[in-house]
Amino acid sequence: MTQNVPMINKISNSIAEALSQVRDGATVLIGGFGTAGIPNELIDGLIEQGARDLTVVNNNAGNGDTGLAALLKTGRVRKIICSFPRQADSFVFDELYRTGKIELELVPQGNLAERLRAAGAGVGAFFTPTGFGTELAKNADGSDKETRVINGKPYVLEFPIYGDVALIKAETGDRWGNLVYRKAARNFGPVMATAAKFTVATVHNIVELGTMDPESIVTPGIHVSKIVKIEHVATQAGGFKKAA
């Protein structure tokens, strides 16, 4: 008798297995904003996995000495692309930056989100009004980014940020990789999932296929490669008391 094996099963038994394909030199998109939506377990898994020479994309640049800050501390991150690196407790990043051990590309938060969206949506580049006439409308070499006046309004040309891997935190998923998030922990998760070739999501619940309301699925499984179930834990991320 043949066993009925599901054709698509994105459920991974362990974080180590889910992250086994991360290569040296990868661009890693990491979700989260403040205490909400940071995939801490996946970041710890990436530290253990050992990939180096990474480019990391996150809104911030780590807090305290855990999570993203711990990853930075390993010296395996060559460059970080973010909107708000400076925080009261971003001392790990601050030290690396001041000693020239990490490259920073500072991007206005909305441009960061839209550059990720563009990558996922197959948009080659886009004109945005954000940052026009400011220091952030310059390239790394100090030259001006391309600009254009459209219908009398000035815009800056911005390019997509493509990820090799996205690490995100969701609330509930199924074996097709469909995801829903919890409250403001959604933040960068959905756009990062679309922008990476390989997306790993942690979830607190895995449900049977067909259980999730199709009208309410936020990230359809096409954008998700692996899901890993983790327990609810109280963390100290960002110096706050706890996270759900």
């Binding site: 403040g34 205490t35 925080q87 001041r98 938060q109 441009n111 403001a184 959604r186 960068f188």
Partner: protein, 214 residues
């Protein structure tokens, strides 16, 4: 002898709140602008937007009800009002960039008479730059208002002819709400909306060092 009193932070927040209209979609920046929420008149419905994907943001919860998946842009726990919604970052910033928010209230280091804003960096050598959503907010809303003290601690005007600090946006500020006066800014320069009792226009112009039309 001229005597006048500066608006306190709460009086200033109350002054800003007075100009917010019923049904407005509003983003309040981190810091002082957050206070405006406390002064929105009862009975008026204003929908607060938070850049990290919230519309219909409510006040801080009691400490035992804090939920760290429900935080504002300043990363403090908040609540969600009935009718509120969550959305992802690209949608949240599309809401700004697309001009869907009615009003955005921001703090500032400097604002020029023509409405240029500097509020993200003092440009100090060696400082670590951080911009967050400042540039997106500055140019996104239908109206960008600034809320700040008129003078620095050293007594220099924060309303200037040209910003010396790095710019956040060009010509984006419509109104300046300060502890001494409320001003409109734009291509024609500064225009007085109101000022604290006892402060005459000449003295205000001296403090700013620029003409203010009535």
């Amino acid at each position: 002898m001229m005597t006048y009193q500066r608006r306190t932070k709460d009086e200033l927040a109350e002054r800003v709140a007075r100009d917010i209209f019923d049904g407005a979609y509003v983003n309040l920046g981190i810091g002082q602008p957050t206070l405006v929420a406390n002064h929105i008149p009862a009975g008026m419905e204003v929908v607060l937007h938070s850049e990290n994907g919230i519309l219909g943001m409510g006040p801080a919860p009691a400490s035992e009800d804090e939920d760290f998946d429900l935080i504002n842009a300043g990363k403090q726990p908040v609540t969600l009002l009935a009718g509120g919604a969550f959305f992802h970052h690209a949608d949240s910033f599309s809401m700004m960039r697309g001009g869907h928010l009615d009003i955005c209230v921001l703090g500032a280091f400097q604002v020029s008479a023509t409405g240029d804003l500097a509020n993200w960096s003092t440009g100090e050598p060696g400082s670590i730059p951080a911009v967050g959503g400042a540039m997106d907010l500055a140019i996104g809303a239908k109206q960008t208002w600034v809320m700040m003290d008129l003078l620095t601690k050293k007594g220099e005007s924060k309303v200037v002819k040209e910003c010396s600090y790095p710019l956040t946006g060009i010509g984006c500020v419509k109104r300046i709400y300060s502890d001494l006066a409320t001003l409109e800014c734009g291509p024609q320069g500064l225009k007085l909306i109101d000022k604290v009792d006892g402060l005459d226009l000449n003295h205000l112009q001296q403090l700013i060092g620029l003409p203010v039309s009535e």
